[in-house]
């Protein structure tokens, strides 16, 4: 009985979250749309310039009409929204390609990088945070602290360049420009993962330390449970809670 209730509840919760996405996406699109209106430059003029057409009032008016920019803002937004709901994202003003096609062209690379990056964040951040907490103030803890400082202090464009310089140019392990093999994803993924992994490890360490000093840990120890069990069952589980937000 209790189990089915729990099941229904989570189903309900997930369902709720998905429903909540709708107004959020709607809000984002509205704000983005309005922000674009605030830009000092007129899209019609920008398109004309990119096409090399002299920007006279007549050509601008014609282009505004062609792009539908002469309609009231609300109409522009609603017509865009209507078409987006039908999965028609329109065409790029500049390249004249369908927007969806452009997005899909770049999506695999983005997904691959995000996946590799996220995997690295977990693989590096998780054990480092846990060990740093368990061996508090040891040499490992100090080293992980150093890792965190460098990770947060270096902007990733710089980190990327330094990695290229060291591993591609000096050591010659990777190509600077090559693309295709799995190895070519390593440097970009490391660059992307470094800073978040450092932050993640540090956050995990402090929330682990927090959990370790809780009464239930003391009680568990008093009960004579194995340390391994205490750490994995009680401490880590609770310590991961505040971090799930960060990873999300």
């Amino acid at each position: 009985m209790g189990e089915t209730l729990l099941k229904r509840l989570t189903q309900h919760y997930v369902f709720q979250r998905i429903l909540q996405l709708v107004p959020v996406l709607f809000g984002i699109s509205l704000v983005t749309f309005l922000l674009i209106q605030l830009m000092p430059s007129d899209p019609a003029t920008v398109v004309l310039r990119s096409m090399n057409v002299p920007t006279t009032p007549e050509t601008i008016a014609a282009m505004r009409q062609k792009l539908g920019l002469d309609r009231p803002l609300a109409v522009q937004y609603l017509s865009w929204l209507w078409r987006v709901l039908h999965l028609d994202f329109g065409r790029s003003f500049v390249t004249d390609e369908p927007v969806l096609q452009s997005v899909l062209y770049y999506a695999p690379t983005t997904l691959m990088l995000t996946t590799c990056g996220a995997a690295l964040i977990l693989v590096i951040g998780l054990p480092m945070g846990i060990l740093a907490a368990l061996y508090r103030d040891s040499w490992f803890d100090q080293a992980s602290r150093l890792f965190t400082y460098t990770g947060t202090a270096m902007p990733n464009f710089w980190l990327g360049f330094v990695l290229l310089y060291l591993f591609s140019y000096k050591l010659g392990w990777f190509g600077v420009t090559s693309r295709g093999s799995l190895a070519d994803w390593i440097l970009p993924a490391v660059t992307l993962a470094w800073t978040p992994a450092a932050i993640y490890a540090r956050l995990l360490r402090s929330s682990m330390l927090d959990s370790l000093s809780q009464n239930y840990v003391l009680y568990a120890r008093a009960r004579g449970l194995l340390e391994r069990l205490i750490v994995s069952r009680y401490v880590l589980k609770n310590a991961l809670l505040p971090l799930s937000r960060f990873l999300g």
Binding site: P40, N52, P127, M128, L131, L134
Partner: protein, 530 residues
Amino acid sequence: MKKFFTYLLIAIAAVAVIVLPSCVQQQAAAPKRSELTLSWSHDVGPLNPHMYDPNQMFAQDMIFEPLVNYSRGGKIQPGLAESWEVAPDGKSIAFQLRQGVNFSDGTPFNATAAKANFDQVLQNRQEHEWLGLIDALDRVEAQGDSVLKLYLKTPYYPALQELTLIRPVRFLSPAAFPDNGTTAKGIKAPIGTGPWTLANYQKDNQAVFKRNETYWGEKPAIEQITVKVIADGETRRLAFEKGELDFIYGNGEISLDSFKQMRDSGQYRAEVSQPLNTRAIAINSARGAAQDLKVRQAIQHSVNKDAIISAIFYGTEKKADTYFSTEVPYANIGLQPYAYDVERAKALLDEAGWRQPTGQSIRQKDGQPLTLDLSFSGKNNVDKAIGEAIQADLKAVGIDLKLLGEEKQSWLGRQTTGEFNLIFNDTWGPPYEPQAIVSSMRKPSHADYEALSGLPMKAEIDQKIGKVLLSTDETARQQLYRDILTTVHEQAVYLPISYSTNIAVLHKNLSGFEFMPQANQVPLSKLSKS
């Protein structure tokens, strides 16, 4: 538990130590002698010869050819046309087309194919009207297989110069025209008559060009060129030094600091091209304190261009004394440069009534400070650095220069509306000079027009510009240009800084390198590798 995580971490480290070195790329091993790799900051684009951005000019130039070619100093050479004849009234040009030329898909290049290309461009007239040639062009006729005749509405002497341009009048195989609509909407494939053909294209990654084995002219020594897209200049340099790129070419493709270091290292061949276009600042003669000729002259005398060139350009650019370099046709007319002379500038400002109150650094007139603004695109670091140098120079003579770095579109907007005192406004380089720039001096919505708009003799200049473009008489043309360029120079509406150049860094195993006459061409056809 502790142990488990320690083992896990050790395991990860071990995997990293084993995997990473095994990733060592074998590509460094002897790149082929018949292949070249270079990089470009942008994707080459769809390579439509009749269109502009995002098509990259150097790549359009590799595949498509003009009727006539431009060589240094403005001389016109045969291209797809072997010879040509301009009618005495200047209103028609007959081209004798080269025989036996085929597009790389086998379609013959003849008068019909050439006319079809012109018609595509003319159907899209509005987009090309900035170019005087298209504006003047009435219609094109094919006479037989080998004669192409252009009819102009009015005589337009620079027609031949403008036919050498990389776009929009180059020739696409009619088989690659779209089924519906014009080439303005897109093409089936980039197929031209040039020395290279596009073999493989991966958007925003790389484009591979192969030698056109049926090319009518001298075939390139290299068989294959790979153009990799690298957005960042420092990465480009690393790739070059590691040997993944054979050469670096262009303007702004790497920082001048990198260029200087590589040149000084002696490991590579580093070259600087002839002057191409002019880095200049237009001074608005219709706005604020710069309405006064003496103030404009004072600005000319107060800027230390030599210091700018050595500090910002490491001597890779030449000082510009006049708006057009003397290499530009009709521009070698012995204009007197404005020398760097702070005392002279101060005297001029005094004469103009701008006095320096004691204890203050900025001059005043009728209680108003002498303040001007200089507009530039905020992301352009070179313009920003020049602006800062000029700001310091002008402060020394008592002018307060406000730097106005804005988003690019706002900066371009100021050029067209004239809302500026000083604005960066580079010339376009050969073969647009001098005619296209001079022409834009009389068209509203250009910084050139706005800069000149406050001059008392503006109407007279406009009239002479109108005449010079129509004139069919060489001597009259020379005289008109002399008048126009002299007035513009004397009125001090342009502050030329330097003549910009292309730079090239090559590995020493490359030979046959020489710069091209047009700024946007990359010299590939004569290169060879040992």
